[in-house]
């Protein structure tokens, strides 16, 4: 399946890639979806780490998911635990952290674990889209 490239068709619509947004706040998922859909991305949502793991393991997602945007402070499985799971089981899917709390130590530790970006809310739409685009490039490199 490594010949798969993004820029495929989902439900008949042209798509730059599929992004999973993991955040316990529905409002955050809503605006991130709004921003990314304008950038031509297909957006999936999960309200915590546990749901996110379910989503990535269901159906075609394990193959078609391009980028994960993940909050840290969430119920059930929190961001740190979810990120560890994704790094272990889906090392090729780039991870972006989008959190409300600027914590330098945590940012350093997560970037060392291979997270591609650590964004602190509120983040501008352009910056978020640029971060996702960079992550997509990594994703494509990983496929080469």
């Amino acid at each position: 399946m490594s010949e798969f490239k993004s820029g495929f068709f989902v439900g008949g619509e042209s798509c730059n890639g599929r992004v999973l947004v993991v955040d316990d706040e529905p409002d955050i998922r809503k605006v991130v979806r709004m921003t990314l859909q304008k950038g031509g991305y297909d957006v999936l949502e999960a309200e915590n780490g546990e749901k996110a793991i379910e989503v990535i393991n269901s159906g075609e997602n394990r193959l078609l998911l391009d980028v994960i945007i993940c909050d840290i402070r969430m119920p059930k499985v929190n961001g740190i635990e979810a990120i560890a799971y994704f790094r272990q089981n889906y090392p090729r899917v780039p991870l972006i952290v989008l959190t409300g709390f600027p914590d330098t130590d945590m940012a350093t530790s997560l970037l060392r674990q291979g997270v591609v970006d650590y964004l602190v809310k509120p983040v501008e739409g352009e910056k978020l889209k640029a971060s996702v685009a960079r992550a997509m490039e990594q994703r494509e490199l990983a496929h080469l």
Partner: protein, 365 residues
């Protein structure tokens, strides 16, 4: 409802074993001075207040003494015969009492009166002020740990506001524009509520007079504040409230007590477990129980947890003043606090306040 069977119960007021017998003190005069003196002396382990005297049966200090299980008298000779105090403190300021005491008190018993008594009263007032200051200092120190919670609660609505505003710059659907503008207004209101909660929590408390407080309302308010300090997402919160229970005291101080107890309970559970908040009327008084299913407190530490500067938290994480301040506030409210704990199972703090009749301030019904 009990969630585990308690095995250890401890009250701070029990005398410690293997220490010299406490000094036996009698207080003459149960007005403001006598009451304050009783409150301060009662907190000191090496002093036992053996009796309080006032000719006026409605003097406030007599009621306080009864709450603390201290004997009350209306005649000096009766007290001396029953209790054999080693020191008699006369805070009546009455010259006639001063001369009659010399005759009534047996040799070898100390007497404090006149200017010495006045000096003590000033020291007691000073001590009371210090306790209030300490409470405030500890509260402000605790607010430092709110940073992560505050950042979360401000930055999330800000993300919504920014995202919606960016979208509005080129949104052409008028209906969507209106709906998103409403969402922005709501998000701003939520953010201002955070600042309102926290500024009211951090203000100084000494100036507010004692009043009747709705205990259930205060517990709910404390939960809102505590969630800035500790992560509550994975804590199951069980409430078992009896409606309309009240306690008399300073509402800000009681809020601080509840925030502290809830924060401690959640920290003991390391982000997973059950927090139970219960209120009830027991023997005419108000009882509040805060229980957790956390790590519990080792039996050898139980009798130290209310001491000042005692903490089991790592350096920089706890001031060691939380439970000490709580104890002082509860004593000031003429109540008591006790703890039951089992290592590995959890802890329950039980607060008891004297019965009050009436309606809490600011309550509609």
């Amino acid at each position: 409802m009990a969630i585990f069977s308690p095995t250890i119960s401890h009250r701070r007021t029990e005398p410690q074993a293997a220490t010299p017998p406490p000094m036996r003190v009698a207080i003459i005069g149960a007005g403001r001075g006598g009451t304050a003196l009783l409150d301060v002396l009662h907190q000191i382990g090496t002093i036992e207040v053996v009796g309080v005297i006032d000719k006026n049966p409605t003097a406030p200090g007599l009621r306080r003494a009864q709450e603390l299980n201290v004997a009350v008298y209306d005649q000096v000779p009766d007290l001396i015969k029953d209790q054999h105090p080693s020191l008699v403190m006369d805070v009546t300021g009455d010259p006639a009492m001063e001369s009659s005491l010399q005759e009534q008190v047996p040799p070898g018993t100390g007497i404090v009166n006149g200017q010495t008594s006045r000096l003590l009263w000033l020291l007691v007032q000073h001590e009371t002020t210090l306790q209030t200051e300490l409470l405030h200092a500890e509260k402000l120190a605790g607010i430092g740990s709110f940073a992560a919670g505050i950042a979360h609660d401000i930055n999330n609505p800000l993300q919504l506001i920014l995202g919606l505003a960016e979208n509005l710059t080129d949104e052409t659907d008028l209906e969507a524009v209106h709906a998103q503008a409403e969402d922005i207004i709501d998000a701003v209101k939520r953010t201002t509520a955070i600042c309102r909660d926290l500024t009211s929590y951090s203000r100084r408390t000494s100036l507010r007079p004692d009043g009747l407080i709705s205990v259930n309302g205060k517990l709910d308010e404390a939960l809102k504040i505590a969630r800035y300090a500790v992560a509550l997402q994975d804590i199951e919160i069980r409430k078992d409230y009896q409606p309309d229970v009240v306690a008399k005291g300073n509402p800000d101080q009681l809020l601080h007590v509840f925030v502290n107890l809830i924060t401690n309970a959640v920290q003991a559970m390391e982000h997973q477990g059950i927090l139970t908040l219960e209120t009830a009327t027991v023997d005419g008084g108000t009882q509040v129980r805060v229980s957790d299913t956390g790590s519990g407190i080792a039996p050898e530490l139980l009798n130290r947890i209310f001491d000042p500067f005692f903490t089991t938290k790592p350096p920089g994480k706890g001031t060691g003043l939380g439970l000490y301040n709580i104890k002082n506030v509860i004593h000031h409210m003429h109540g008591s606090i006790s703890v039951e704990s089992q290592v590995g199972r959890g802890s329950t703090f039980t607060l008891t306040f004297p019965g009050e009749t009436g309606q809490a301030e600011g309550e509609a019904s």
